[in-house]
């Protein structure tokens, strides 16, 4: 299918099926009724771990569904969206393990305020330059809760992934909060002091996340997010200004952002880089494993955006 159609289908898949897995109500007496096509698609998406918009040829695009099931039933999806065979493909994948309790705490795991039902990503572990306390770094829109509780406890895993009181790892401390009426550069927050054991090792690599570096155009990068796990991309711009829609219907202005185009691990084939819940992920330079950015937004397809890390650390008064 062409690019425009693939975007439309991928949007519907994400909005209606992948992120909106509803419990389908079955009225009494109808237990033997056959599932409606849409309900069947819901059922199938229960087995899907991630969706990627991918480029199949110079002009054609497809949607890749990652699933634990090597024989994912695709026919109802193809019929529901009136697609051709090959427009949607499935690929076996190990389950994403970021949405479970991690002790020691790990980079890339799911995190959220104890009383909220969203989730984001634990970016990395940092120190307060003023008092030396250990904190976790993520986005303001991940760690901040305006429910009005005196203490905003942060849980790992996020409560929507089973986190409870026993999983609290610290308190929300401070933010570089976005301003709806001004121009922003950061969406960052720290929580702590960390009350659980934690590891500064980058998961799957025996390397410590202990150095920052500047982003540059063409740099190969990766991130580990709580929704899509480890994904790859290439930095396309380091001077990017964007308008970001938030959940309240506001549009926030950002400048000096890093723009990342998602790819597969060959750094050439376009692929999804981030989805909802990946916010707060650290962007790593693929070659050096140094930290270059903090992911906060994207279009859900090929484009993602991150704050520059060095000015963020200075402004938030943190260090590694």
């Amino acid at each position: 299918m062409n690019y425009d159609k693939s975007i439309k289908v991928h949007t519907i898949i994400c909005d209606q099926f992948f992120f909106n897995r509803k419990n389908v109500e079955v009225p009494a007496g109808n237990f033997d009724d056959e599932l409606e096509p849409g309900e069947l698609v819901y059922e199938i998406f229960n087995e899907v771990i991630a969706t990627n918009l991918i480029q199949l040829s110079e002009t054609t695009y497809g949607i890749e569904l990652l699933s634990k099931n090597p024989d994912l039933y695709l026919t109802p999806i193809i019929e529901y969206f009136n697609l051709q065979i090959g427009d949607i493909i499935s690929k076996p994948s190990a389950p994403i393990v970021q949405q479970v309790r991690k002790r020691p705490l790990e980079i890339g795991s799911s995190i959220a305020p104890l009383n909220e039902n969203w989730w984001g990503t634990l970016g990395c572990f940092v120190k307060d330059v003023n008092n030396g306390e250990d904190y976790v770094l993520s986005n303001h829109h991940v760690l901040f809760s305006d429910l009005g509780y005196k203490d905003n406890f942060i849980a790992q895993p996020a409560p929507c992934h089973g986190g409870g009181n026993d999983d609290a790892i610290g308190l929300y401390v401070r933010s570089l909060a976005p301003d709806t009426s001004g121009i922003n550069e950061f969406d960052a927050a720290v929580a702590g002091p960390i009350s659980a054991e934690f590891s500064r090792l980058i998961p799957e690599l025996n390397v410590y996340a202990n150095e920052l570096t500047n982003a540059s155009i063409g740099m190969k990068v990766y991130k580990i997010g709580a929704t899509t796990g480890k994904t790859f991309g290439v930095i396309k711009s380091i001077i990017s200004s964007i308008k970001v829609d938030n959940a309240n219907g506001d549009v926030l202005d950002y400048q000096n952002q890093i723009a990342i185009n998602g790819t597969t691990n060959d750094f050439l084939t376009p692929a999804n880089f981030s989805l909802g819940g990946d916010s707060g992920s650290i962007i790593f330079d693929y070659d050096s494993n140094k930290i270059v950015g903090l992911l906060h937004c994207g279009n859900g397809y090929l484009n993602s955006f991150a704050n520059k890390i060095e000015p963020l650390f200075n402004k938030l008064e943190i260090s590694l």
Binding site: I7, T11, S240, S241, I242, D245, D253, G276, N299
Partner: protein, 69 residues
Amino acid sequence: VDIESASKELYSKLRKYDEVVGIAICHTNGIQYIVVYLAKISNIILKKIPNIYKGNIVKTEITGRIMFQ
């Protein structure tokens, strides 16, 4: 006018349009250019975006809307 100033100036003119969701400075093979991000294809908006602005190449990219994740 250097490309960064040109990009800022162009964005200040285009930001008011709902379909315009961002701007970036990119380069390929050593050639710098401005990319205007659009939420959707719109001929009305495309007519308002010059191919060259203050001596700098301007391209467009359809990104859709950008959301916090």
